[in-house]
Amino acid sequence: MSAPTGMRHDRAGESPAARLAADFLANPVAAFGLVLLGCIVLLALFAPLVSPQDPYDLAQLDIVDARLPPGSTSASGGTYWLGTDDQGRDMLSAIFYGLRISLAVGAASTLLALVIGLTFGLIAAYLGGRIESLIMRIVDIQLSFPAILIALILIAVLGQGTGKVIAALVTIQWAYYARTVRGAALVERRKEYVEAARCLALPPLRIVFRHLLPNCLPPLIVVATVQVAAAIALEATLSFLGLGLPITEPSLGLLIANGYQYLLSGKYWISFFPGIALLLTIVSINLVADQLRDVLNPRLQR
C-alpha cells in the first residue's frame, strides 16, 4: 500500500504498519479489547495445556462431582472454580475447549466466505455489465433477509452437522464481502495507479490481484472482523436451538443449551459462565473492529 500523506501524526521514518499499530493502541479501550482477544485466542489454542482436566475424556469424569457449584472441591481433591455440569465435567475446562470450537468455526467460515465474496466482488467490479447486475442483485436480495432466517432455511434444507453449519455461515457472509469489495474496487478502479498499470499493458489478473486488491483491503478487514463476531454469535444461537453443531463438537452454544434445563432449579453456572466467555469474545472482537474502522478510515485522519 502506498503510504498516505498527512497521517494523524507526522512520524517520518516509521513503517506504515508501525504507524497503524501506534494509532490503534492510542485508544486504551481498543488496546484492552486487543489484549483480551489475544488472551482468549491463546486460551483456545492451548486449551489442552491450560485446562485442569480433559473434559471429554470419560475416564477423568466422576459422576459424584455432577452439578457442583463454583469453587467446590472434587472427589479427587481438585477445585472446580466454575462448578461442574451434569456429567461432573469441570466447566472451566469445558469452556476452554468450547472456545476452541466456536473460534475455529467462526474463523473457518469467515475465511471461506472472504475468499468467495472477494472473488465475486472483484469479478463484478472489474467485468461490470450483466454479470455485475446479476451478482449484485443476488447480494441485495440476500441482504434483505435477516441472517438467522437464511441460516434456518439452509439448515432445514441441508440438514445438520458441522460442515452444514459452516456452509450456512459462509452463505450468509459472502454477500457482505462481495458488496464491500465491489464498492471499494469501483472507487479504486478510476484512480491513476490502475490507469498507469493498464498503460504498462499488465495482464488484467495481475492488475486485479496486485494493484486493485491490496487497496480494497482496509474496508474489507473491518467488515471481516465484525463478521467473525457475528458468525460466532450465530453459530452459538443455532447450536443452542439444537440445529447447530452436533454434541460431539461442544461449542459454547451447546454448553449454554446444556445448562438451560438446570437454570430453573437455580444451578445457574452451567449456562452462565459459557455465556460470559461468549460475551467477552464477541465484545473484544467488536472493540477491535471499532478501532480498526477508525484507524483504517482515511477520512478520520487529519
Binding site: 432466517l149 454469535a233 452459538a236 444461537t237 436451538l241 445457574y268 461468549l278 460475551l279 467488536n286
Partner: protein
Amino acid sequence: MLVYIIRRSLQSLLVLVAMSLLVFAGVYAIGNPVDILINPQAEQLERERAIAELGLDRPLHEQYVTFIRGALSGDLGRSFVHSAPALGMILERMPATLELATAAMLIAVLLGIPLGLWAGLKPDSAGGRAIMAGSILGFSLPTFWVGLMLIMVFSVMLGWLPSNGRGPTSELLGVPVSFLSLEGWRHLALPATNLALFKLALLIRLTRAGTREALLQDYVKFARAKGLSNARVILVHVLRNILIPIVTVIGLEFGSVIAFAIVTESVFAWPGMGKLLIDSINTLDRPVIVAYLLVIVAIFIVINLVVDILYSVLDPRVRLGEAKG
C-alpha cells in the same frame, strides 16, 4: 410511479417463486420422511398405502406442482406429525408471534428514541456515554443468552415474573391475545424485553447519529436564532427531520423482529410460529417447515415492497436511481 410499483411488485413475485422452489426442493430432497412417519414394523402393504396417501411416491417435480396448486388455493399441505393443515397451524400461532414482535418493537421505539435523542444532545455527558456503552453491549449480547439470564434473575432468583408460555389469553375479535389481562402482561414482559434489546440498541444509535447531524444544520441554527424554546427546537425541528429514516428502519426491522422471535420463543416456550418451526425441523415435519418459510418470506417481501414504495414516495431520487441501474 405506477410503473415503478408494478416493476417492483413483479420482482418481489419472482423472488417468492424462486424461494418456494429452493425451499421445496431442498426440504423435500433431504431425509426420508417414510422412515420417521411410518412405523418400521408396519406391513409392506401398509407402508405403501401410507406413502401413496402422503404423495411421497411421485417424482419431485410432480410433488412441487401439486404443492404450488395447493399453495395458490391456500393449502400448503398437511403436517406429517399432527395431520392438520400446515398453513392453519402456522396461522393459528401467528397472533402470538405478532403480539410478541409488536410488544418488542414498542419497547424499542418508546425507549430507543428518547435515549438516542438524549445521547445525541449530550454526547459527552456521563448519561450519553452510558447510553452508548449500553447500546454496544446490546449489540454484542447473544439474544438467547440474555433470555436465559432474564429467566435466571427475574423468574428464578426474584420470582417476580413467569418464565414460560403465554399465560391465559382472552379473545379480541376472535383472536386470542395476552395483553388484555395483567397475567398476560406478566408473561409478555420477559420475552418482549429480550426480543427488544437488539432493536433498542439499533434505534439508540440511529437516533443519536441523526440528532448529532441535525443539530449542525442551518435550519436548527436558524430556529435557535429566532429565539424558539429549546424544547420546541428539539421536538419540532430536530425530531421531525430525523424521523423519516427512523420510520423506514422501524418498518424494515419489524420483519427481522418476527424472524428473531424464533430464538426468543424457543427460550421462553412462547407458543408462536418460531417455536413451531424449530419443533418441525427437529421432527422433519416438512410441510410445516415449507409453509412457515413461505409465510415468513412472503411477510418479508411485502414489508420490503411497502417500505420501498413508501420511500420512493418520500424521496423521488430513489426511483430515479432504480430506473438508471
